[in-house]
């Protein structure tokens, strides 16, 4: 895999993989959490149990500082968006995926709403309101935006109502081409516009949602807000890729290697040389 960076914004602008070149954008945004008195459902605050954003997602105000490291084994772009969002975009030699290693937090508490941070991947794919999630860890399920298969939907919550659990994969398709984001943990995700995939990364809600826990989702460690770090692996291709593997086979291979990753152990050499130790 290869990728290109926009020299002006420091953001990713194109990915080349499986002999396919795809315009690609990635950005960090946040939803404000709804704040209410919890007396009726319409006044329910966004909190630990429910995601109720207040309006559309806002872009993170940033001055993206970028450092680029090019090597034979791995090439990395270190991005610093602001004091609490940074990211490493990484490609390993010989691998057909691009890794987005994000670090989010401590989320500032500069307003009453709290912030719910997402990353959004945008491609030119005409995905026709369809996206796919592997919710429940068993099979990939087709999701249709603003639709439920067994009743006529009148969606009052256009963002949260289209969010689904993502255990390890969320994808979109146009004809034979599939773009997938593989996650290293279960997250919430959606495709709110054709060609887009977004995933929830971190949340700080300053009000309890009155579903039982009795406290706001405002966690700390070492007297600071929590910092979370994780990886997304972006992969795309068709049923006939140059490697001979279908895109589904590539995804399965990567998911196995990431979720059942090899274990690393360390031992002392006790001052021995390689020959002595061997």
């Amino acid at each position: 895999a290869e990728f290109q960076i926009n020299e002006t914004t420091g953001s990713i602008s194109k990915i080349i993989m499986n002999n396919i070149s795809l315009d690609f954008n990635q950005e960090f945004l946040y939803y404000k959490g709804f704040v209410g008195n919890n007396e009726v459902f319409a006044n329910r605050s966004s909190g630990a149990y429910i995601f109720r954003p207040y309006g559309k997602a806002s872009s993170i105000e940033n001055q993206n500082q970028v450092k680029i490291y090019l090597g034979n084994l791995v090439s990395e772009v270190h991005q610093q968006y602001n004091d609490w969002i940074s990211q490493i975009i990484r490609v390993y030699s010989g691998e057909t995926y691009v890794e987005f290693d994000w670090i989010v937090g401590p989320i500032p508490t500069d307003d009453a709403h709290g912030k719910e941070i997402i990353t959004r991947y945008t491609t030119p794919l005409d995905s026709n309101s369809l996206f796919y999630t592997d919710s429940n860890g068993r099979e990939t399920l087709t999701r249709i935006r603003n639709f439920r298969p067994t009743w006529n939907l009148n969606l009052k919550e256009p963002v949260a109502g289209n969010y689904y659990p993502v255990t390890s994969k969320i994808s979109i398709r146009e004809k034979d081409l599939e773009v997938a984001v593989l996650t290293d943990r279960a997250q919430g995700g959606s495709s709110l516009e054709d060609g887009q995939i977004e995933l929830m990364l971190h949340r700080k809600c300053l009000h309890d949602d009155a579903f039982g826990v009795g406290e706001a989702l405002n966690e700390t460690a070492f007297d600071k807000g929590l910092v979370t770090r994780g990886s997304h692996y972006v992969v795309f291709g068709t049923k006939k890729n140059p490697s001979g593997k279908t895109i589904a086979a590539q995804e399965k291979d990567i998911i196995q290697r990431k979720l059942l990753s090899s274990w690393t152990f360390l031992s002392p050499t006790n001052g021995l040389t390689y020959q002595q130790y061997k």
Binding site: Y92, R257, W263, F265, S267, G271
Partner: protein, 191 residues
């Protein structure tokens, strides 16, 4: 195996209470972390002894009715903040990579380190290509991180056998000690 019981109990508690979703009180979440960490810690002995049997199968399990020594395998649970006390304290160490899958895989190993030059030798005695990349400032300042590691050492553990392992000998070296290699194999980093 009693060494597994702490983690068994932790997993039972976590699954029954839907832990780590934010729907428990914060001090309960911290308690879950404590229980889970203790469970994983108690599993270290059983993983080390199991791996010792794989690494040195010719050793008898008992010598003169005494248990054979277990190779001291350490893990680094804080790699998510690029911190590892073991690699920061030791100038040389052995990295053993165990593949739990039933097919061969390769994995890029990333290890936090203090130094700038390291030599990595694979099980056949070949020196591997390595790269050393600075840890981003945003990770260095994560609250609670206590580490002197400023860089990460990266190398490829290739073709790990199914349900098997490979060990790599890692040693800090001065720049002059690094053997000259053909240009195509030389790591070239550009910031």
């Amino acid at each position: 195996r009693v060494d597994l019981n702490a983690l068994r109990e932790a997993m039972g508690v976590m699954q029954h209470h839907d832990a780590i979703t934010g729907t428990e009180k914060e001090h309960v979440a911290h308690d879950y972390s404590r229980i889970l960490a203790k469970g994983m810690d108690e599993c270290n002995f059983i993983t080390a002894s199991a791996l010792s049997k794989l690494v040195a199968p010719e050793e008898k399990l008992f010598v003169n009715d005494e248990p054979a020594p277990v190779i001291p395998f350490e893990t680094c649970p804080l790699l998510n903040v690029s911190q590892c006390g073991f690699t920061e304290k030791n100038n040389g160490f052995v990295v053993t990579v165990y593949n739990p899958l039933s097919r061969p895989v390769s994995k890029h190993i990333r290890i936090p380190i203090r130094g700038d030059h390291y030599v990595v030798i694979d099980p056949k005695g070949n020196q591997l290509d390595t790269e050393i990349i600075p840890i981003p400032e945003s990770i260095l300042r994560i609250p609670g991180r206590k580490s002197n590691a400023k860089n990460e050492l990266i190398f490829l553990a290739s073709n790990l056998p199914p349900l098997g392992f490979k060990s790599y000998f890692v040693e800090e070296a001065s720049e002059n000690d690094l053997p000259q290699k053909p240009h195509k194999n030389k790591s070239r980093l550009r910031e």
